[in-house]
């Protein structure tokens, strides 16, 4: 047996940067990095130089100035005397609102359509195929405008609700569908109203606790508790009891036709509805395809094995197929959520005042600070997109196949 002696250690020579495969890749990466840095510093320098030549300078002072314009949907207090910064925040909230609503709705539509597209019923599966193909092959901007135009043209004007021979009427005297939006009653909390809300929130927690207990009991003893009616009971009975015991502390403020428009209640703007539904049905079509792909990725043997254990088709889908399919569905779902958020910047087409409409639209125009406003806008969308990816990636790593 011979002992292996170490090969003679070569000392590092400069030529090794090119000749030695161990270092060569680093050399080229470093050169590429230098080139990129040089390019961007040239561009930055060029920008600054040209701005100076034009007598302009980068400054965010305008954010503190009075905006002088009004916004039609404000989730926080805002008037034309507020600052441009406040207007930008109003825009951010409007963007987040429509993105959240559209994400939730698109997920529901997508999951239902994706599952139904695999239905054995010929008519249903073909209907869903038509939905998916029609909606994902037409640009979302067109859908936004179609829905908005149809709404303004078909729904009655507020003044049609007026007079003896009104051509339109409210539903149950509480909901009015007009071409300016939908007016719904607004809950008003009186003293003690908060208690009812708290009880209801506690009931929701209770429902989850009950379901956990039922599952645990099932696994431990095989005894199955009913979940349908107890859920409903836990959800509504305590809240209703508190409501009546405290003497109906929550009342509804009904929308009433007064002057030019309905007053009171909550006004859901037509532009919000158009944008929300257009984004939801458009992205829903993409999600439907993801869901279908995810389900088909689960091997058929799983279904057959579950069926041979005597599970009903609904349970096979919920307990066997979907949990495995989710692993395939979630990553593309994240990018669909990102798409919804970014596509919501098309809001200006229907006059919905999102961040692109306030900061990137009116503020930019009235102050002329194009570069500043666009940079801020990019930073916002970047931050939001990264936040969504972060949250969804946490969910993804929770759901993904755990190898033990």
């Amino acid at each position: 047996m011979t002992t292996l002696s170490d090969p003679p250690r070569e000392s590092f020579r400069l030529s090794m940067l090119l000749n030695d495969t161990r270092y060569r890749s680093y050399t080229f990466q470093f050169i590429a990095l230098l080139c990129v840095i040089a390019l961007f510093s040239f561009l930055g320098y060029n920008l600054v130089k040209n701005l100076q030549a034009a007598g302009l300078n980068i400054s965010y002072k305008f954010l503190g100035e009075t905006s002088n314009y009004d916004i039609n949907q404000t989730l926080i207090d805002y008037s034309s005397q507020s600052t441009h910064w406040r207007a930008a925040v109003v825009g951010v909230l409007n963007t987040l609102l429509v993105a959240f609503l559209a994400c939730v709705t698109a997920t529901i539509i997508g999951v239902v359509a994706g599952v139904l597209r695999l239905s054995k019923n010929w008519l249903i599966s073909k209907l869903m195929a038509v939905y998916v193909e029609a909606f994902r092959n037409v640009p979302v901007l067109i859908w936004i405008i179609i829905i908005f135009t149809v709404m303004t043209a078909v729904l009655p004007q507020p003044r049609d609700f007026r007079g003896e021979n009104a051509t339109a009427s409210m539903w149950f005297d509480a909901v009015a569908f007009t071409n300016r939006g939908v007016y719904i009653p607004k809950p008003v909390l009186e003293s003690g109203g908060m208690a009812v809300v708290i009880v209801f929130l506690l009931s929701i927690v209770g429902v989850f606790a009950y379901r956990r207990y039922a599952t645990k009991l099932l696994y431990a003893t095989g005894k199955m508790l009913p979940t349908g009616w107890p859920t409903l009971a836990i959800l509504f009975v305590p809240a209703l009891l508190t409501y009546f015991v405290l003497g109906k502390p929550i009342s509804l403020e009904m929308p009433v036709l007064a002057g030019f428009n309905f007053k009171g209640g909550i006004n859901i703007l037509g532009s919000l509805i158009a944008l929300w539904f257009a984004l939801a049905i458009y992205t829903g079509a993409f999600i439907a395809e993801n869901v279908r792909a995810g389900i088909q990725a689960v091997s058929r043997g799983q279904t057959e094995a579950a069926a041979s254990l005597g599970l009903r088709p609904g349970r096979i889908m919920n307990l066997v197929i979907l949990p495995q399919a989710l692993r395939v569905i979630i990553p593309p779902l994240i990018s669909n959520y990102l798409n919804i958020t970014k596509n919501s910047s098309l809001a200006i087409a229907v006059g919905y005042m999102d961040i692109t409409g306030t900061l990137g639209g009116i503020t930019l125009n009235q102050t002329g600070r194009a570069i500043e406003a666009i940079l801020l806008l990019m930073a916002f969308y970047l931050a939001i997109s990264l936040a969504i990816s972060f949250i969804m990636n946490i969910y993804n790593s929770k759901m993904k196949l755990k190898e033990r």
Binding site: L47, Y69, I348, G351, I362, N365, T367, L375, L386
Partner: protein
């Protein structure tokens, strides 16, 4: 992701690079065409006619400048701009001048680095409502839904007007005049507000113009005029004096009908200087001696442009009002040509 931020800055830098420095007059001459920014379509002011030719009051100013600089009123590339895109288009050098019923304000002239060369229409903001609403004054508009073109001074005036009168309203922001018209007619808003001239032009395009009224209140001063980039004063002078030539021509009685006859030489030295048969005004601004003649011959003098495009015999039916010559009690007052 970070790259996209910088790439955006790069685009802006590229645009700014195009804008800085170069003399606009040389660029226009080298190109053989004037790039003129106009509206996306406002009948009477700037809109393509049935043959696709741009026509209108603002278009007339563009054609006059093209005729003065290049000798050909047809050598214009019309660039339709919205209220939002117009200033970026001008600042970036995409267009050489903007004739798009744009209000002359302090901040646009100074902070945005533009130069307004004059006023071609003295206007004010008005409100239009359907007659069926039974509204007779803008003070009765409390609670109304108002259609408004976004990115305009009217947006700010509207906020001021309703605030100072302690009234509430819901704004419906809209990108172009055509969309505003559609929304207003569908009843998505009760009121449409913009410059009174724009309201008249829009109303003229309705199927039943008589069903709509323009309310008597004019809530702001809106001096509309052509503008150029700040910094190129030679080019600014050319556009300014072309506009003045059109106004002076009306005052001096020079029309497209008699211009050939007058350019043979007249008793009036100012007419001679304007038409280039006397003095060297053209040379002073770097153009031919016949620049003034070409500008006026392009579409007629100011009065002719007005009557043909927006005057009382057109569907838009605007009276001269403030836009009459100073000799007729109006505000048009061209400085002397000497």
């Amino acid at each position: 992701m970070k790259k996209s931020v910088i790439l955006g800055a790069l685009t802006v830098a590229g645009l700014a690079a195009g804008a800085a420095g170069a003399a606009t007059l040389d660029d226009v001459k080298a190109r053989g065409k004037l790039n003129c920014g106009v509206t996306t379509g406002l009948v009477g002011f700037a809109a393509p006619d049935a043959n696709g030719e741009w026509d209108g009051f603002d278009v007339g100013v563009c054609r006059a400048v093209a005729a003065a600089v290049l000798g050909d009123p047809a050598a214009v590339e019309f660039v339709p701009t919205t209220g939002k895109t117009r200033f970026t288009a001008l600042a970036s050098g995409e267009i050489d001048m903007l004739a798009r019923n744009t209000t002359w304000t302090f901040s646009r002239d100074t902070d945005l680095k533009f130069d307004f060369v004059g006023v071609n229409y003295y206007d004010g903001q008005g409100f239009m409502v359907p007659k069926a609403l039974g509204v007779s004054s803008a003070k009765e508009l409390d609670g109304a839904t108002v259609c408004i073109q976004t990115g305009t001074t009217t947006e700010l005036n509207l906020a001021d007007f309703f605030r100072s009168n302690n009234m509430e309203y819901t704004p419906v922001p809209i990108e172009t005049n055509a969309e505003a018209q559609q929304q207003y007619l569908a009843g998505a808003c009760d009121v449409y507000t913009t410059d009174a001239s724009g309201l008249a032009a829009t109303r003229a395009a309705f199927e039943a113009p008589g069903d709509h009224v323009v309310l008597p209140e004019i809530v702001s001063k809106e001096p509309l005029g052509p503008l150029v980039r700040h910094g190129d004063n030679d080019w600014g002078d050319i556009v300014r004096w072309t506009l003045n030539a059109l106004i002076a021509a009306e005052e001096l009685g020079v029309t497209s009908a008699n211009i050939e006859e007058l350019s043979a030489g007249t008793e009036n030295p100012e007419v001679n200087r304007l038409l280039g048969t006397e003095g060297n005004l053209g040379e002073m601004i770097g153009l031919d001696a016949g620049w003034g003649k070409a500008a006026i011959a392009a579409g007629g003098n100011y009065g002719e442009l007005f009557e043909k495009n927006i005057g009382e015999n057109t569907p838009i039916a605007l009276s001269r009002g403030l836009n009459a010559q100073w000799t007729d009690g109006g505000l048009l007052y061209a400085p002397p040509f000497r």
